[in-house]
Amino acid sequence: MDKKPHISLNNTMLKFKNSSFKLFANLTINEGEKILLIGPNGSGKSSLIQIISGHIIPNKGQILFHNFNKTNKQTKPLSEFISYMPQSPYMPLHFDVFDFVITGRFSNKKNKDIFSNNDFKQTIQVLKKINLFNKWNSKLAHLSGGEKQLVLLSHNLIQKKHIQLFDEPTSNLDPFNQSEVMNLILNSSLKKPVTTIVSTHNINFAWKFNRIIMIKNGVIFKDGSPNKIINSKNLSALYEKDIKVKIINNKHFVLTH
């Protein structure tokens, strides 16, 4: 089935000052795709996500959002259809969980008061979904690292945007919470198709996604469905380590040692 392209990066090139790192991407993303970005530390996963979110303006090339007909030069419109969960951001520790999560309801377009009854309801809903409702009035300062990550995730889920970007959303979580969070990210309750891009180091989640993009040294190394490209050969080449993929009881497992 042919889908209309949704996001395209045309010969996008990014260079940092005082660093030899270069990111080059030529990429088309379709509406509703669930994409997992994998690659070694410093390969450019976060940079790629931030180019799409509009936080980094590439030095060359362009990024187009077709259904929205906007270029990334305008940050204001981007905020209406993209949400972005950064990796370990600063958090206002004197906020309570409820007041932090409800800020996700802010929309600059309407500049409306986010403390309406409907906003309250939505916030309660998302906190229940993530099993943090019992801590709704705890200060962020008194949460564990994993709980803070869940709060951050709620802040993004409550935005209900068309394009949702998550930069290592499971890095501080225990294994059970990790898969819970991945399910929450992927099984959106929204009626509209949601395009999701997630970066992670946990390759075992690959089979939950329909497209995997491997990044190595700032270029796209492999791009395809998990069944086609997640194999011992590709992973070993990506990480330059000996990696095996085994199938046990019809489930795939990536063995890194």
Partner: protein, 355 residues
């Protein structure tokens, strides 16, 4: 628990309770205002005060024989003095709440950021060029104070950016550095240029003892539009507490918004400093008390902190004029004495949160 009862409980804590607290604070402020007009070195009975005020408002004054001294004390001294303390508390506390959000630092306040001493330096320069016995001197000092305050906050902000991110320590260290350099320049000007050193020194310590309607009008007319502007941005101020990346994601142009908010906060607090001297800690303490008691939402925090700040300053001024009566203590000393233990407590708590 059903969702409905939860919502009711949360609505109570997040909205209703805040409304009630604001009503309560207004009542307390009115009570302390009455007390402040009543107390002073000359004994004037409450009945006479009411008579003077009603005559002043409702009648043609010349038709009544009033004790002229009592009339002058109430109408030209005590009322403008109390009102000046209130408006100064409002201005310093709403600026403090705003600085704390936009610098992502619960320790930021006009005093610790260097705005106080910057505005003080500006005012001293203004008064040296154009002495206070000339007409419109207060107005000139206010303009110079705004220049000094803006320069100080600009320097503090840029100095703290040397350490790449706005962390708590670098902002406060930069504020301390700017405060001491501005203070040093002020002293230098005072000892080399200005023969009238004593009145300016006592003004620097902060106080309302020289308050007149002119002082009040200057602070009021500059402060109210700024506070109104800050309040109109309460939604954005709330979001500015988050990481810059999230602020950007939610569609706010952080730099532009912060610039407008800094100008409004600095303008109003610098001009307050130019008319009252440097009064520390209020801009820090009032927002903290409000946040601890009622929460972080600027929609309520700005009015709550403003009222708490006005109550603190007005009460401090009552202490200033009564403890050693008839001698007056500069109100800046009282807030420093009251603020110090609070500040120590706060550092301990912040240590809990951030350590």
């Amino acid at each position: 628990m059903s969702t409905n009862t939860n919502i009711k409980e949360i609505i109570y804590i997040k909205s209703t309770k805040n409304f009630i607290s604001i009503m309560f604070l207004v009542l307390v402020l009115v009570f302390i205002f009455a007390l402040s007009v009543l107390l002073g070195p000359s004994k004037i009975s409450p009945f006479e005060i009411i008579r003077i005020i009603t005559f002043d408002i409702f009648t043609n004054k010349s038709e009544f024989i009033l004790s002229t001294a009592a009339y002058a004390i109430i109408i030209n001294l005590r009322i403008p003095r109390s009102l000046l303390a209130i408006i100064t508390g409002i201005v310093l506390s709403s600026s403090g709440s705003t600085y704390q959000a936009i610098f992502k630092n619960p320790l930021a306040d006009p005093y610790l950021l260097g705005v106080g001493t910057g505005a003080g330096l500006g005012a001293v320069i203004g008064l040296t060029i154009y002495p206070s016995n000339l007409p419109f001197a207060n107005f000139g000092a206010a303009l110079f104070a705004f220049g000094g305050g803006l320069l100080a906050v600009f320097l503090t902000y840029n100095l703290s950016n040397y350490s790449k991110n706005l962390n708590h320590l670098s902002l406060i260290l930069a504020g301390v550095a700017i405060t001491s350099i501005m203070g040093a320049f002020t002293t230098l000007i005072l000892i080399t240029q200005n023969p009238e050193i004593k009145p300016i020194l006592s003004w620097l310590l902060g106080g309302f003892s020289l308050a007149s309607w002119e002082h009040f009008n200057i602070v009021f007319l500059s402060g109210i539009p700024c506070v109104a502007l800050l309040y109109s941005q309460h939604n954005k101020i709330n979001i500015l507490n988050l990481d810059s990346k999230q602020v950007h994601s939610l569609g706010i142009n952080e730099k532009k918004t912060i610039t407008i908010l800094i100008i409004a906060s600095t303008l109003s607090s610098s001009i307050a400093v130019s008319q009252t001297g440097i009064i520390g800690f209020v801009g820090l303490v009032a927002p903290h008390i409000s946040r601890m008691a009622w929460g972080t939402n600027p929609k309520y925090l700005i009015p709550q902190a403003s009222l708490v700040g006005a109550i603190i300053l007005l009460s401090s001024d009552i202490l200033a004029k009564t403890i050693l009566s008839p001698t007056e203590i500069p109100v800046g000393l009282i807030t420093a004495f009251l603020g110090f233990p609070f500040f120590v407590q706060l550092l301990r708590k912040e240590g809990d949160i951030h350590g």
